[in-house]
Subunit: 450 residues, 2 copies
């Protein structure tokens, strides 16, 4: 028997499988607003049990993790599949062409909140396990499912959960299907993410705005204080001047640099996508800066008058929001300490607040199971996947690579235009069914490997 | 006959003089909204004519100047008195304890929009001329009155008006009563103002905000561009690094420095007034920085996200509003050229916009007529005036000192808490009547001088 048999099975069961997905999609699960969370977690648990898995709701400090396992494989390789059953709020509801929680098929796509992010991809995993078992009788590897309910809130309790369930979650590979495939339609295998440190700085001058004439040169200006402070933090070439900021950065391996050189790159299209016509960067620079180097970004700077025309004041406060994307093995807690020490030295009156942090994560490209996944994905999609060392963005991937100590890959199943977090979120019918095939292929290849 | 006779006359005419003032106060004249401007200018012209002056409305590109003169004095000394008949809008009207255009006497003060700024002070000038003539038969000097209707709009047409009427306006001294007296109740004689240059800088990155993860290090950040630019403009000690910024600054004379040393100074009270407890500056530093040195102020800096919590974006634009208070003999047009040249050199993509400019002005403290005014004010108030070389703020005083080439002094008549530009604007009854006396005294002393 081959994967071709799975495809045939899916063709027979198209309606049944869509029914399953629609049942899940119809059930709202908005974690930010605590809507339908209990119902959805129970529904997902029941779906796991229906395909013969041992499934439970595991408590966290927030919404429960739906955990399922099937451990009776002949070999001891364990695949942990991560996903999330919560969705973004549907607002603005008026911008949807069909009601956000009524799955509607148009133009070969299923439109519904959660269709792409992440219920469609999560359901592809479940139906892959079901299909595989129905065709081949049993799974060739052990499988653990961890579907959390707080991803859209930034996974505030996931790290603690993983820490507390290390033994239960022990695995040889973590596999996540979330986000969109490459714009060309090619599949992705992503090996990591950048981490994050988000801080807010507040400088205070006088207790109220003062007249810039009657008090000019007399009252300290907190906007200038932040500007002067920023200057001590970064030179004009972009180098961060905070002591130790670059410590612990893992240099890209030759394999990773080699990988980058094989990635697709279209500078002109990219310039259009980011809204910057003058965009001019070599492919190597682009991927290195995006995936291997930290950022030191001003996300917001606000002080004083911002309306039309003139207002002559010395502002009383200035606020700066900065986010730093971190790369392996920078640690947001360590960078925060260094950052605050720097502020204490150069502008002791400025208040620094931690607004968020996430460790970076990267699985080495030469990890053996990465090669197995890569081959499986190539077989499923009949084209080689784009293997990227890291996302520019951040996901809680470190809970697997750092806390659990397991390699982790992200293989997105959704179409590039899935509109996640936006109105008219969708997943292509093909993307959904191809996702089932891909998971089956990964399971089979990992089984063959043993 | 002495000024005492004037005081007696005023006592007899209290009701009549208040009637005159109330008539003017009841007539709204909101230049920003073009409310009652024609009626008020005609009313003021008629009031001038009623006291025997040759009065006209002189056209400008905006509201007319009400011009009056009485030139038949025995000696050829000419005093030009400047004032304005327009007022600020009364908003927020709900915050007034009595209707803003109904003069109401409470606690020894007249509450009405324009009471202090500037109709009460303007009327004190008119009634001084009337009183002086009624007591002494005729004026000992020539007097010209220039009451404009656009001061609350920043006097956009005054410079051109003065330029076009140099001969008509020729005088030996310009005298302005506007603003409040010293907080101690002591009179002020102010010898100048700082000028102003107000610019807006706009930096642009991409056409829209980009995700700071997916695009971090790739898209240029305009907030950083402005921060980097600002750093090239000023060092941490506050020195402006723009080429030629300090050229043309007139060094304080010994007399001016001497003046400063005689000024009242209470650091603690000042700290409270500006809302800055840590305020710590010597008197000499305070007055030198406030009146003799230019500023380089950030009045507003806005870019990116400013709400609660985090938003991870690379802002697409950043806007900076800066005002520079200039001192004699800096010229805003010259500084603007130097400023834009600097920006062109260090951040050619940043757009600079001129939002406003005003020349600084200073009349030397050792000018002979300044001494005469000083003595007159001392006699009127029975205490020596505080003679300050310059205001920290800006007024169009340069039209007299630079365009007309005449010494100019500002002698405010309103109480310190006149609440100009605010709800419950007022002038003390004593301040109004003392103002009449003071103008008479000035007229008499200037006459004696000849």
């Amino acid at each position: 028997m081959t994967i071709q048999t799975i495809r045939e099975l899916i063709n027979e069961r198209t309606e049944e499988y869509l029914d399953q997905l629609f049942t899940l999609l119809k059930q709202p699960s908005i974690s930010a607003q605590n809507i339908g969370m209990e119902e959805t977690s129970t529904l997902v648990k029941n779906m796991m049990q229906d395909i013969g898995m041992d499934a439970h709701l595991l408590e966290t400090d927030g919404y429960p993790v739906v955990y399922g396992e099937k451990l009776n494989a002949d070999n001891d390789f364990t695949l942990l599949i991560y996903g999330h059953y919560d969705v973004q709020p549907p607002d603005p509801v008026d911008a949807w062409d069909s009601p956000p929680f009524e799955p509607t098929v148009r133009d070969g796509k299923i439109f519904c909140r959660g269709a792409g992010d992440n219920k469609g991809q999560l359901m592809a995993q479940l139906l892959a396990i079901k299909s595989y078992q129905d065709v081949f009788g049993e799974l060739p590897i052990n499988i653990k499912l961890v579907f959390e309910g707080e991803e859209e809130k930034g996974s505030p309790n996931l790290a603690k959960f993983v820490e507390e369930h290390k033994e239960l979650l022990h695995a040889d590979l973590v596999y996540t299907s979330d986000g969109p495939m490459h714009e060309s339609g090619a599949p992705f295998v992503l090996l990591g993410v950048r981490g994050l440190l988000y801080v807010e700085l507040t400088a205070k001058g006088a207790d109220w705005d003062n007249h810039s004439g009657n008090k000019g040169n007399i009252v300290p200006n907190p906007a200038w204080e932040l500007v002067d402070l920023l200057h001590t933090m970064k030179d004009r070439d972009g180098n961060v001047l905070i002591d130790g900021f670059y410590d612990h950065i893992r240099q890209p391996t030759e394999e990773e640099l080699e990988l980058i050189s094989t990635l697709p790159y279209d500078q002109k299209t990219l310039g259009k996508q980011i809204g910057y016509e003058d965009f001019d960067m070599t492919k190597e620079d682009y991927y290195r800066k995006l995936t291997m180097e930290p950022t030191f970004n001003i996300a917001g700077f606000h002080s004083g008058y911002g309306g039309e025309g003139t207002k002559t004041i010395i502002p009383s406060t200035a606020t700066l929001k900065m986010d730093m994307r971190l790369v392996v093995d920078q640690d947001p807690a360590d960078i925060y300490d260094k950052f605050t020490a720097h502020v204490k030295k150069y502008a002791p009156g400025v208040e620094v607040k931690w607004l968020g942090g996430m460790l970076p994560s990267r699985t080495p490209a030469d990890t053996e199971v990465v090669g197995v996944v890569r081959n499986a994905v190539e077989k499923a999609y009949h084209q080689p996947p784009i293997l990227q060392p890291s996302l520019g963005g951040s996901l809680p991937d470190y809970v697997w690579t750092k806390i659990l100590g397991v390699p982790s890959v992200v293989v997105p199943y959704a179409n590039f235009d899935e509109a996640n977090h936006s109105p008219n979120e969708n997943i292509g019918l093909d993307n959904f069914f191809d996702g089932i095939i891909c998971t089956c292929q990964v399971i089979q290849e990992l089984g063959n490997r043993a």
